[in-house]
Amino acid sequence: MLFNALEFWIFLPVVWLLYFSIPSKIRWVWLLCASYFFYGFWKIEFAGLMLITSLMDWYSAKRVHAASKIIWKRFWMWFAISTDLFILFVFKYFDFAFGKSELAYSLYHNNSTAWIIELGKYTIPAGISFYTFQSISYVVDVYRGNEQPEKNPIKFMLFVSFFPQLVAGPIERFGRLHQQLFQKYSPKLEDLKNGGRLLLYGLFLKVAIADNLAGVVDAFYSNPADYSVSSAWLAALLFTFQVYYDFFGYSLLAQGAALLFGIKLMDNFNKPFIAQSVPEFWHRWHISLSTWFRDYIFIPVGGNQKGAMRLAFGVLLVFFTSGLWHGANSTMIYFGLSQGVLYLFDRFIFKKTLANFKIGIFFRQLKTGFFFMMTLVFFRSQSIDQSTGIYSMLFDINGKHAKTASETMVTTYNFDEAGKAISSNYGPKVLENLSAEFSIWLFLLIGFLLDHLIMKSRADSWFASLPLLIRWVAYLFMLVAVLLFGGAVNHPFVYFQF
């Protein structure tokens, strides 16, 4: 179930009402059932996978805690990590890594395993990377002695499956989320109001801005060669905002939905486009993933305490993993690695040389945003060929792209009026200019303005601070934007596929 689907808006109030109608002792059981329903609504097999991951990690963590010797602690921790990663690999990366191998062929021609190959190839289990990472962090935290293991496997299942953050995060830590899930809580009007504000604002960002931008960007990426160079720049720019508003919108929706149950999820974004460097950017963008990588990969391989070379290795390893985490495609690896290289550039070169010049803050922010926009070409492209094609379009200073395109003779048969005449049009190809409707620009502008205005607080408290009339005008405006101008094509959340 997606947050931008009508089913969710029926599901959420029903779950909420029943949650507070039953005795507080068994509320968490209801929340668990609702979470599995939420996930299994899309495909029941996926709920089974999550169940296996949860039980495996719960058991492993228990054994980690119970083991007296470090070697057994280590064994059980690695057992959990490797089984989690194995499941992740089978359903997300197998087709990418071995799709054309004999092994894949024989698995696909065996009826008992063919469904796995089909799922991995066409329908990766939603959010598998998110809940796998969340579950791994629990086992490692128990190993490190930072957390006590949960005794009840069913309760642990709720930690992994809690529906607001299940399919696209934030990736919460056990210590923070688990405690809130089982605390005694009575519904509070203030939480309800704030949750509602976050839900509405998140939906506005996703449905009115990101989904509409997606339509424009998709038009370009479906056939880039048909478009002019300026269109390529526009598509790159709009995609940057599409990803941002899509994921930021999702995170707000997740926070809003959780708040209705009295659970405060962490902030996943903190104005990333005011970052002056790539390292700062990653402190502000998808914070739950960045901190996960920091705690479970970067620091264990040496962090920034063991010299520049070790740091560079750690950074590249993190960004390589991050790229791979984002998707089973070589374009994602390029995306991750290019961000890693730019991170090192900012950290070692820009900081020590150019930063000494009095370059304005605005220029630095622009540079960081520009770096991100450029690497997102990899993120959005279907293949390396497509991304290199788009890069060559973007830097088409001599107009080579326009020239090549105009030399392409095309033949089109006019089938519009069936058979009136068979008309063949021969002529130079005319490059199209990408354009967006006025309403899309307006919503984007309002998105910027709100981002700017809500600079120092969170959206819910900012809206709450507005005078009543202005606040309601804002609510109704967002409601109108969602209901009347929401993107028509179903674009699942960009991060949903991870």
Partner: protein, 411 residues
């Protein structure tokens, strides 16, 4: 006590907001209907006004997919669609067609919602619905266009316009993406049995087994085009119809809706390219080419199934499944797509189909004097309007198939 107070506060707060929002939505529906709805219809459901117009102003409405309007760019100097031809045979009736590539009974069923309830507000009394076999198969059911088709169909209803817009924005329709649909197609080919005891020579249990075996069957000497074509024929036609089939259920719903609205319904079964379907799996014994009927047996089974259903439902139908001009003597040459299985025909087949439908509507036989007289009149009109040279044929895949088939292994 304080918990109860808080709950009471929440309920009060909710109540007042709900009233404001309900009133706002009511107003919004008015504004949307007045200022935005038409633009959205133009953008997302362009055919809707034509459907409404057809039901209001035409006595006969023809519902079909691309087979109605497709034509042969090589030879057709006549552009008339099947429905246009029917109109020529029935000049006293007003006929309008709703046709579009990829339309299917599931969409037609939803279009029927737009027939005005009040009989005085509509002129339509007969609906003709073209049925092709492929539409019931996995490729059509799980087509990549289906999400946009279903989005379009959201507007084929009399619900408040704002509700349709909300359903679209919040994807309250079958909006599954292309990737998921591809997976479902493969799952169908892999798991749905195609074998029946009555089929002779069929050694495969599923379409997937058959497709996989094509490489072995053809070896390396057969060009890729032929393999692709054979694979496409298996994918499109190797399935077994039953009552659970989505399209069969849709057809039944259409029958029920037409009965409910007291509208005459006429199905007509479109001819598939049976010649290519057997030619692709043929082999030679000496100089004699032996046509393989394995796939056509499945096609025939499905045809018989549909025919039995139509009879069972009490719906009249025109049976063009084995229309003479579409059969083998023309080597599949009157099908305009020579390298892919479609029901796209040249003018001769279109005209022949139209004749059978017109005769059924008139309640006469094709060889009756009344119909022959109409036929002659139509031919006269066509002659005045650049009557085609029926002898012209486009380049046929048969000629190449014929040559390549010799390389096929003998059984």
């Amino acid at each position: 006590m304080s918990r109860n107070n808080e709950i009471l506060n929440i309920l009060k707060w909710f109540g007042s907001r709900l009233i404001i929002i309900a009133a706002f939505l009511f107003l919004l529906n008015f504004i949307y209907s007045r200022y935005f709805f038409d633009a959205d219809i133009q953008k997302f459901s362009r055919v809707k006004p034509n459907i409404e117009d057809a039901f209001k102003n035409a006595e006969i409405v023809y519902l079909g997919e691309s087979s109605n309007t497709s034509f042969n760019p090589w030879t057709d100097t006549l552009s008339q669609s099947i429905s246009d031809f029917i109109q020529l045979y029935l000049p006293d009736s007003s006929i309008k067609a709703i046709t579009h590539e990829g339309y299917h009974p599931g969409l037609f069923r939803q279009m029927l919602n737009l027939i005005p309830e009040d009989p005085s507000a509509r002129k339509v009394n007969t609906i003709i619905l073209g049925v092709n076999m492929r539409t019931c198969g996995p490729s059509a059911i799980h087509s990549g266009n289906e999400a946009s088709n279903q989005r379009e169909a959201l507007f084929y209803s009399h619900r408040p316009p704002l509700l349709s817009r909300i359903f679209m924005g919040l994807h309250f329709y079958d909006s599954r993406g292309e990737s998921e649909r591809t997976r479902m197609k493969f799952q169908w080919w892999r798991t749905q049995p195609i074998n029946k005891e009555s089929f002779s020579n069929l050694k495969y249990n599923t379409a997937f087994e058959w497709i996989t075996d094509l490489d072995k069957l053809y070896g390396d000497s057969i060009p890729e085009e032929i393999k692709h074509m054979a694979s496409a024929y298996v994918k499109e036609f190797a399935f077994i119809l039953n009552d659970d089939n989505e399209r069969v259920r849709d057809l039944k719903s259409i029958v029920d809706l037409c009965n409910e609205k007291n509208i005459k319904l006429l199905f007509h079964i479109l001819p598939p390219n049976r010649f290519h379907a057997s030619m692709l799996f043929s082999h030679y014994e000496g100089e004699l080419m032996i046509m393989d009927t394995t796939l056509t047996q499945i096609m025939d089974y499905n045809y018989e199934f549909l025919k039995a259903k139509f009879k069972n439902w009490g719906v009249p139908f025109v049976d063009n499944y084995r229309l003479k001009s579409a059969e083998g003597e023309n080597k599949g040459g009157r099908f305009t797509d020579q390298w892919y299985p479609t029901e796209h025909y040249d003018a001769i087949i279109r005209r022949d189909i139209a004749e059978t439908i017109a005769a059924e509507l008139l309640g006469v036989k094709l060889d009756s004097s009344e119909f022959i007289s109409r036929h002659n009149k139509v031919n006269h009109i066509l002659k005045q309007n650049n009557f085609p040279n029926w002898e012209i044929q486009m380049p046929l895949s048969f000629d190449k198939l014929h040559q390549w088939s010799r390389a096929l292994p003998t059984n």
